[in-house]
């Protein structure tokens, strides 16, 4: 057990760091190199395959990578999330402690909601209007567009 834990943590750190670096690079070197590399990084886990395959067929494959939608734009937050995702995913992965049909967590959902706005801020300005940012007043993009990233 403890052995598996340590192993998990290790994989996690490696994972997190690897991805973290991958992202850091992206910050400066946008483009195909990244678009191809990074989803692959997520693909290191076969359990991400479904999303990856879906993403390949999605309207966003050419314009957004996993991290565009699943990590905050803000650099620090992004790195933190990566580290944590990288860690927990690998941890859960190694321990096998997760459900077959993975469900997005509330926190990740918030990040994704924001990711939409990062790219589509202008187009939804009118509908967002002057609505306060409290989540009860925010429009939930995912309610209608939950399949843009990877078809469901």
């Amino acid at each position: 057990m403890t052995a598996r834990m340590i192993q998990g943590i290790l994989v996690g750190m490696i994972c997190g760091v690897a991805i973290g670096i991958g992202l850091y690079t992206f910050a400066y070197a946008k483009g195909w190199s990244y678009l191809t590399d990074d989803p692959a990084a997520c693909m290191n886990c076969h359990v991400m395959r479904e999303q990856f395959d879906g993403w390949l067929k999605s309207s966003h494959r050419a314009v957004a990578t996993c991290n565009s939608c699943h990590t905050p734009k803000n650099f620090i937050a992004k790195y933190a999330t990566k580290a944590s995702n990288g860690f927990w995913h690998s941890f859960n992965f190694t321990t096998g402690d997760y459900e077959d049909n993975i469900q997005i967590k509330p926190h990740s959902r918030e990040i994704t909601e924001q990711a939409c706005r990062n790219c589509h801020g202008e187009i939804v300005d009118a509908v967002e209007g002057t609505h306060p940012s409290s989540s009860s007043q925010q429009l939930a993009c995912l309610r209608c567009h939950n399949s843009v990233g990877h078809l469901q």
């Binding site: 905050p72 734009k73 803000n74 937050a77 926190h107 918030e110 990040i111 924001q114 706005r117 801020g121 202008e122 187009i123 939804v124 300005d125 009118a126 509908v127 967002e128 209007g129 002057t130 609505h131 940012s133 009860s136 007043q137 925010q138 429009l139 939930a140 309610r143 209608c144 567009h145 399949s147 078809l151």
Partner: protein, 437 residues
């Protein structure tokens, strides 16, 4: 995470203020200066296109002095004359048409022949005109006070106080453009409903989420209602809940009747457009899908996306209304709607026949000299059967908003009608107890 949102706030420049809007601006044309896109769509609610069970047909007519309308929608009581028997002795037996776009609401209410057979109160106007500003004026700044005053006026006197059909100010706060509920009937109705759920002093404009408001602004009018007491207060009968049996129980307890059936003497009720109530029983409501999502879907206008203010049948706009959530072809989605509606319509016809049989029998019994006392039980069944049937008949989605619930209600209606017939044959005279509300 919060700070990200905040930064986003600053970034926004929602719209250009060409004109200043305030709480007295009820002319949509003025709002249209700031929001030309929404205004243009809003004006298009004059379009009339028929779908299989909805939309509306534009029937030309020669205007008269009494009724200057040159176009009306098809008559429902001519399409199914059984409706005249169900409503015998009530204004609806005189004139009842398919509803059409918002642009017509004020005229259709003013000129319906129903106005010629009964004196209607000013209450009617809450849902057929932009009453927010007039209410405020009438109540010297107090919305509710103005509402109460107008309710007590005769219709045609009150009619003089309004000019526009539902307008921007009826759904929007002129300064923030956020949705707000302006109808006393809904404000009080939803509070009564929430109270029945154990939520005290619910204030819709404070406590509702934005998503809820996308349904509540429609719920202001697309609901069952009645006029309470001599002061003709507009009340939504939700104090026990939104389901048909709960509303029936509410009316029974209040011993309310809309009219006495001309053929049978039964104290009957008229259900009216309970779209909000039925939607609430459906899977879409349960999934947080609101009226606006389907009837005012987002549309792309150049670099912006806006809510389509051409409020209409989603069947005429499937791509935007349905396909973001349902990846089926337009034809398939249309077929799904009609499949649900057809099933509802067929059972509705079975229920209608059952009711006709009961009314025929009651009429005969009355003709044969039976007293209302002797008929009380059967009349009680008619009251229920008719309200349940009308609850689906008057609901304008032909079952789509809540398919299983619509069929369940019709099933119960059939049971009530037939039990009424049996009560007559068995000479049961006690007031209907067995019929569960």
């Amino acid at each position: 995470l919060m700070n990200i949102f905040e930064r986003k706030q600053e970034a926004r420049n929602p719209f250009y203020r060409v004109v200043e809007l305030n709480d007295q601006t009820d002319d949509p044309a003025v709002w249209g200066k700031n929001f030309p896109l929404q205004y243009d769509d809003y004006k298009r609610t004059t379009d009339q296109v028929r779908t299989h069970f909805g939309g509306s047909e534009a029937l030309p007519r020669t205007p008269t002095k009494a009724d200057p309308r040159s176009v009306v929608a098809q008559s429902k009581i001519e399409e199914d004359p059984r409706l005249k028997i169900m409503w015998a002795g009530y204004a609806f037996a005189k004139d009842f048409r398919e509803e059409r776009g918002h642009a017509y609401m004020l005229d259709d209410q003013t000129y319906t022949e129903r106005q010629q057979v009964v004196k209607q109160p000013g209450t009617c106007i809450q849902c057929h005109a932009s009453v927010y500003v007039p209410y405020k004026k009438l109540g010297n700044g107090d919305l509710i006070a103005g509402f109460e005053k107008m309710n007590q006026m005769p219709f045609f006197e009150a009619r003089k106080l309004v000019t526009h059909p539902v307008s921007c100010i009826d759904c929007h706060d002129p300064t923030t453009m956020q949705l707000r509920v302006t109808r006393p009937g809904f404000i009080e109705g939803i509070a009564a409903y929430k109270a029945s759920q154990g939520i005290k002093n619910y204030d819709v404009n404070k406590d509702a989420t934005r998503q809820e408001m996308r349904a509540y602004v429609c719920g202001q009018c697309h609901v069952e209602y009645y006029f309470k007491g001599p002061e003709k207060r507009l009340v939504y009968p939700w104090a026990k809940g939104l389901k048909v049996e709960q509303i029936q129980a509410y009316y029974d307890e209040a011993q309310f009747k809309d009219w006495t059936h001309a053929d049978t003497g039964a104290p009957v009720l008229k259900a009216q457009h309970p779209e909000f109530e039925m939607w609430n029983q459906g899977i879409h409501a349960r999934s947080g899908v609101t009226c606006a999502d389907c009837h005012m879907p987002y549309k792309r206008e150049g670099a912006l996306k806006i809510s389509d203010h051409h409020v209409r049948s989603p069947v005429l706009n499937i791509n935007r209304a349905c396909q973001t959530c349902h990846k089926w072809s337009e034809d398939e989605l249309k077929a799904r709607v009609e499949n649900i509606q057809q099933r509802t319509f067929e059972l509705r016809n079975v229920a209608m026949d059952a009711l006709m049989d009961l009314i025929k029998d009651l009429k005969a019994a009355k003709g044969a000299g039976k007293t209302d006392n002797e008929l009380a039980m059967a009349q009680g069944f008619q009251r229920k059967a008719q309200f349940y049937l009308d609850f689906v008949e008057a609901e304008n989605s032909t079952g789509f908003h809540a398919p299983q619930e619509a069929s369940r209600i019709l099933g119960e209606s059939i049971d009530f009608s037939r039990k009424g017939q049996i009560a007559l044959r068995d000479g049961k005279t006690a007031p209907s107890q067995t019929a569960k509300p």
